[in-house]
């Protein structure tokens, strides 16, 4: 019973983190129909920049409470710079081309981003503990948990809800949905599809960076954790259905709980179990749980 509680709690925490990591990826796929392999790189950048800014703030004598603002500022900067830059300068040039080429393009951007973090911040781990330790801890069933992880769960729920509202409730959201369902028709009725693509990609980049920034205080930021995030994010959205926000949430929950189960019952299998779940879901339902099948018109 105790193990079950631990697994549920841990699983939910993983799920919150996974949702934050994946929602940007599914958003970009939904609008641009491109799998942004550089997603992990943006995630890492967000983590590095936010941590760096928070540490600098503390160095300059700033109050630890203000570090939370850095966790937001970092991703905003990454999103606003990397988003338009990558989309306008690179992605735009491969829109009409084969998907393989688009994948390779985002993959090469990933390689660049990954090394860029090493160049800027070196290979030593970067760690800011203030946001995490400031909130303190509590105990459930004899296990100590941090309030920060609760904050993460809350943030991911609120953020997810905000995104769903933005897509369903706002004018911009409805325009984005129109572009998703039919790009040509949207263009014909006067929607600036190019601008929507850029906005969507920038938002996706921000989400990725935000995910990284929020996770950073719980672990040390090191080179290489970008690729784990990319593959995990892909597993989450593949299971949930690529392009679906609800899918990202459900996928995150499934993967989170699976990972928690593996970590506590069979640690060697923790990575394998996630890939295995992805394969099982895709075999049974190739479009993912909330995904839609597309039929080409002839």
């Amino acid at each position: 019973m105790r193990t079950l509680t631990i697994i549920l709690v841990d699983g939910t925490m993983f799920a919150a983190v996974l949702f934050l990591i994946s929602v940007g990826l599914t958003l970009v796929f939904g609008v641009l129909r491109i799998l942004n392999v550089s997603h992990g790189g943006l995630y890492a950048f967000g983590a590095y920049l936010a941590t760096f800014l928070a540490l600098k703030l503390l160095d300059l004598g700033g109050s630890p409470v203000l570090t939370y603002s850095m966790l937001l500022l970092g991703p905003v900067i990454v999103g606003l710079i990397a988003g338009p830059l990558i989309e306008r300068v690179f992605l735009q040039r491969v829109y009409g081309r084969a998907e393989a080429i688009q994948l390779l393009l985002t993959f090469s951007i990933f390689l660049i981003l990954d090394d860029l973090t090493k160049l800027i911040w070196g290979t030593q781990p970067l760690f800011v503990s203030a946001p995490y330790t400031l909130l303190g801890e509590f105990t459930i069933a004899g296990i100590r948990y941090s309030w920060y992880t609760v904050l993460l769960i809350l943030v991911s729920i609120v953020f997810g809800g905000a995104l769903v509202w933005a897509v369903r409730g706002t004018r911009l959201g409805k325009i984005v949905v129109a572009v998703i369902s039919d790009r040509e028709v949207s263009q014909a009725i006067g929607i600036n599809v190019n601008r929507i693509y850029m906005v969507s990609f920038t938002l996706g980049a921000f989400c990725a960076a935000l995910g990284g920034a929020l996770i950073a205080p719980t672990i040390a930021v090191v080179p290489g954790f970008a690729v784990d995030a990319t593959v995990l994010a892909f597993a989450v959205i593949a299971i949930g259905g690529m392009g679906s926000l609800e899918g990202a949430a459900l996928g995150a929950l499934i993967v989170g709980l699976l990972r928690a189960t593996a970590v506590h019952l069979l640690p060697e299998a923790d990575l394998v179990v996630i890939y295995f779940a992805m394969i099982v879901v895709l075999v049974v339902r190739p479009q993912g749980l909330f995904g839609q099948v597309e039929l080409r018109r002839i």
Binding site: A100, L111, A235, M242
Partner: protein, 322 residues
């Protein structure tokens, strides 16, 4: 241009044969490794023709390498003439299994599912250290060639020429494959899957057969690499290895069989230097080159070569006429 182009393979082959005779040992090592990896690159290139990317073909390369590792460790098998077909077979068998799932997918899913499988294999190789020796790895030791055990000094040369012979056989086989109906269907897939289905042929079948073949290719490369490097570790299945294969296929030009060969040799040299002097910028350089190729010269090195030779040949003809 035709005359120039038909000389190229002969000149290239002659150069490759001459390598151990005129160049130092460490270059022989690099070229041998490049040729071994070329097999896996070829596997990736086959799929690029069909418009698909695999980010996970390192898994077959790893299967081949560990065939050597386990073959030596558990069965005392060191004969390369035996291990190469065995590696090919195991690679093909693994691909036959994974391919059952893989053949249903294209594009994004194909790329990422391959990645997932290869990372699963990596995880298994890493964690089951009591079988695989994890990151410590397995040692390949000294191979024998049909029972003959060469001396340490001549081993490098024997391995090189074995690799060269295998390369020739593989190139011949792949050329025949690409000239067959299946090979053409592979290319046609990138253009129009619907027309293939409406011809009564199964696209899934085309993908499956090619996948099994690519598994065999990867396995052969892994066996050769295992002996050339001498040390077999889980990193053979890591995503970075798969990424390297994809990069070389793009760099060399995946529309030809020779392109990946040229690309692999070029890459191996660059990698040896760059990763020693620029370990933290090496990936970024790869990424930038890849971007440049995608945006400006999608045909890769081979296409550039053809262009240059073409222009040169044209000028030579014009000069003759004048």
């Amino acid at each position: 241009m035709g005359a120039w182009m038909s000389w190229t393979p002969l000149v290239g082959a002659a150069l490759l044969v001459a390598v151990p005779a005129v160049l130092p040992d460490w270059i022989v090592f690099i070229v041998a490794l490049a040729l071994a990896k070329f097999m896996a690159v070829l596997a990736v290139a086959l799929f690029l023709r069909a418009g698909m990317v695999s980010f996970g073909h390192a898994m077959f390369y790893a299967v081949g390498a560990y065939t050597v590792g386990f073959g030596v460790k558990w069965f005392g098998l060191r004969d390369i003439v035996l291990l190469i077909p065995l590696g090919a077979l195991l690679g093909a068998a693994f691909a036959a299994l994974v391919g059952l799932v893989m053949a249903r997918y294209r594009e994004v899913f194909f790329a990422m599912l391959n990645l997932a499988f290869s990372m699963m294999l990596y995880g298994v190789l890493l964690k089951l250290y009591w079988i695989t020796a994890g990151t410590d790895g397995l040692s390949a030791g000294l191979p024998t060639f049909l029972g003959y055990a060469p001396s340490r000094e001549s081993l490098r040369v024997f391995l090189y020429y074995t690799t060269l012979v295998v390369t020739v056989i593989v190139v011949f086989g792949v050329y025949r494959f690409l000239a067959s109906p299946l090979g053409f269907y592979l290319k046609a897939m990138a253009d129009n899957e619907i027309r293939i289905e409406y011809s009564g042929e199964s696209v899934r079948h085309v993908v499956y057969v090619t996948y099994v073949l690519s598994g065999a290719l990867g396995g052969i490369g892994g066996v050769l690499a295992g002996f050339t490097v001498g040390h077999i570790v889980p990193e053979y299945s890591f995503w970075i290895q798969s990424g390297d294969f994809v990069f070389v296929a793009l760099l060399g030009g995946y529309t030809s069989v020779v392109g990946p060969l040229v690309g692999s040799i070029a890459f191996e040299f660059i990698r040896t230097y760059a990763s020693k002097y620029f370990p933290n910028e090496w990936q970024m350089v790869l990424g930038i080159i890849m971007l440049a190729i995608i945006l400006f010269r999608p045909g890769g090195l081979w296409a550039i070569y053809e262009e240059v030779v073409g222009r040169f040949g044209r000028r030579a003809r014009e000069a003759k006429r004048a």
